[in-house]
């Protein structure tokens, strides 16, 4: 221990050694989440959807923000998880929610592993289109297998067993779903947070920043990418399973381009590669969309579109990027 102390005297070394530690403000999102349960009881259905989107965006952040894999087909895994619990509940009588999440994670993770193993050798536009095609194939398969999946109409009116055998799903007010989603999000967040601050996450960042150098130092680039993709797919599958369980239905839109593009927008809007971008982006985007859709039912896309364009033009790296720029400007007013 005594040998490391002089090294830690350097500010840069201190920052590096402390960056994985939990900071005081990291409790705020969770306190806000619990507070919302008590103070916004009529918005819990909406809040549940927000939590599910946060989880989905968080899974995307692992591959997009940390590993630099740009994908346009992440809804493939969301939908795989959503359909897994839906099919299990409808055809096999497997209605227990928590084991359903595990099954969804396993199925989505397996699809992520298989597709990632093949696709992650490519980059750029080819990778973008390959992920999109994978998702489209899954969506068409769900459409064709209508006798199991309900085809275009999906599977409405699914029922699930009570949580832990005692807490039933709250169809009207979404109280139990909200807390359930919050707890699942917290567990997944802890996993992702540990992963990105572990040496594994550092090597993902290295691959994002300079893939040639990572090859040169002997890092198993492809294996790392496939593992990250698989974990991300499994978490996206959990988000999809939560969607099906909370809403008691599943349809083809869970596998669609709209959802894949939507989660990409959410993450870029919030700021990728920083864990909490998923939280800020999901809340900002969904609240904006809901408010505009209520106020201007025909023209809400105008406001959303203008906001996205403005963020892209004036706030590099999303809302968090804007906050960073403001903080730098405030911290060093004379240096400019």
């Amino acid at each position: 221990m005594s040998r490391s102390e002089p090294a830690l005297a350097l500010p840069a070394a201190r920052t590096l050694a402390a960056r994985h530690r939990v900071k005081w403000w990291e409790a705020l999102p969770w306190l806000a989440g619990i507070a919302a349960f008590f103070f916004l009881p009529s918005y819990l259905a909406f809040g549940t959807q927000v939590l599910i989107t946060i989880l989905f965006a968080l899974s995307l952040d692992l591959v997009l923000g940390y590993a630099g894999i740009v994908t346009l087909g992440h809804a493939a895994f969301f939908g795989a998880g959503a359909y897994t619990v839906g099919l299990l509940a409808a055809h096999f009588g497997w209605k227990e929610p928590l084991s359903g999440l595990v099954a969804a994670a396993a199925v989505a993770g397996a699809i992520g592993f298989a597709s990632g193993y093949v696709l992650l050798r490519t980059r750029g536009l080819a990778l973008l289109m390959l992920t999109l095609c994978t998702m489209a194939i899954l969506q068409e398969s769900a459409n064709v297998a209508a006798s199991y999946t309900g085809g275009f109409d999906g599977m409405p009116d699914l029922t699930f067993a009570p949580l832990l055998g005692i807490i039933p799903f709250d169809v009207l007010y979404f109280r139990s779903q909200y807390l359930y989603a919050l707890v699942v999000l917290f567990v997944c967040f802890v996993v992702v947070r540990m992963l990105v601050y572990a040496p594994f996450g550092q090597s993902l960042t290295g691959i994002r920043e300079n893939v040639l150098r990572m090859h040169a130092v002997g890092a198993p680039v492809h294996a790392r990418l496939v593992i990250a993709y698989t974990v991300s797919a499994a978490i996206a599958g959990v988000a999809g399973a939560l969607f099906t369980q909370a809403n008691a239905f599943v349809n083809l839109a869970t596998l669609g381009l709209d959802r894949a593009a939507g989660v990409l927008i959410v993450l870029i809007l919030g700021g990728y590669g920083r864990l909490y971008g998923a939280f800020v982006g999901a809340i900002a985007y969904m609240v904006l969309e809901r408010a505009l859709a209520n106020a201007y039912p025909t023209a809400w896309q105008l406001g959303v579109g203008l906001t996205l364009m403005a963020v892209a033009l004036f706030a590099r790296n999303g809302i968090f990027g804007l906050a960073d720029a403001l903080r730098r400007r405030l911290a060093a007013p004379g240096s400019k």
Partner: protein, 287 residues
């Protein structure tokens, strides 16, 4: 329907895909800008054509020309004012911007004209059927094939035989080298962007009869345009032409043969094509 008929129908659809996508391929190849709003320009072109025919009773070719000019001019304004600020940005910021622009275009059409789908009324001389000797087929589809082929020849000549085309090819292959040889890539890009967007507008007008025309058009056909560009290769006119015909014919044939799930094959084939040649089927650089 017999095989020749299906092939001709597929070729006509492929020509529309080609006319819309070729500009996207060149602009993405030049600047690496991921312009997801390209389909929006095609939609606007379609609306300009339909509306100018309906309200000013312009003849069909004049309406298409008006669409080309109007959308090319609009795209220059957008490019200079907005797109140009994002060339140095990450491709994710570009994606965010162009998706936002798609939303704005969708909302603008929904508010200004309405959410219902518009029908393009073809002039009399393009309706009905034409006897080709071995088959009687829809005149309009044959006209599309003829126009697409002429455009390909024109673009190919412009690309391979003119100074401007040589500059574009040089800039796509090696931008820094082209710039150090004195090519003003910024101005080149503005020009290419305008021509590409104008062609997309023409494609939107020509294809309105096949693809339909409503505010959701840019998002619905975005995967098709992107697939054509990815399979054809960036900045490759002939590559995009072959890819568009391949996709158009296969999509048409498979949807006729397997009405349910027919589009699955197109995605599966794209998947295999891109795994085999990630840079595009006809790319000179190869896998």
């Amino acid at each position: 329907m017999d095989l020749t008929g299906i092939l001709l129908g597929g070729l006509a659809a492929g020509m529309v895909l080609f006319i819309v996508s070729v500009g996207l391929s060149v602009t993405m190849g030049l600047m690496g800008f991921v312009n997801l709003a390209h389909g929006g320009f095609a939609m606007l072109g379609g609306y300009v054509a339909v509306m100018s025919m309906r309200h000013w009773s312009l003849p069909f070719p004049a309406a298409l020309a008006l669409g080309f000019v109007a959308i090319a001019a609009l795209s220059v304004v957008l490019e200079r004012l907005l797109y140009a600020r994002l060339y140095q940005a990450s491709e994710l910021d570009q994606v965010l911007f162009s998706i936002g622009l798609v939303f704005v275009l969708i909302a603008a059409i929904t508010l200004g004209i309405g959410p219902e789908s518009q029908t393009l009324v073809l002039p009399d001389w393009l309706r009905g059927q034409t006897d080709l000797g071995f088959i009687r087929y829809r005149t309009y589809s044959l006209a599309l094939i003829a126009v697409g082929t002429l455009l390909l020849i024109g673009l190919w000549l412009g690309f391979e035989r003119t100074r401007l085309g040589a500059r574009i090819r040089a800039a796509v292959d090696n931008r820094r080298m082209a710039e150090s040889l004195g090519v003003d890539v910024g101005r080149l890009f503005t020009l290419t962007f305008a021509i590409g967007s104008g062609l997309a507008a023409v494609g939107g007008g020509l294809g309105a009869e096949i693809l339909g025309l409503d505010p959701q058009y840019p998002l619905r056909y975005l995967p098709y345009f992107l697939i054509v560009v990815a399979v054809g290769g960036l900045g490759r006119v002939t590559g995009v032409f072959c890819a568009a015909l391949l996709i158009g014919v296969l999509d048409f044939v498979l949807k006729v043969e397997f009405p349910k799930g027919g589009s699955m094959f197109i995605y599966a084939l794209t998947l295999m094509a891109l795994l085999w040649r990630p840079q595009g089927l006809l790319s000179r650089r190869g896998g």
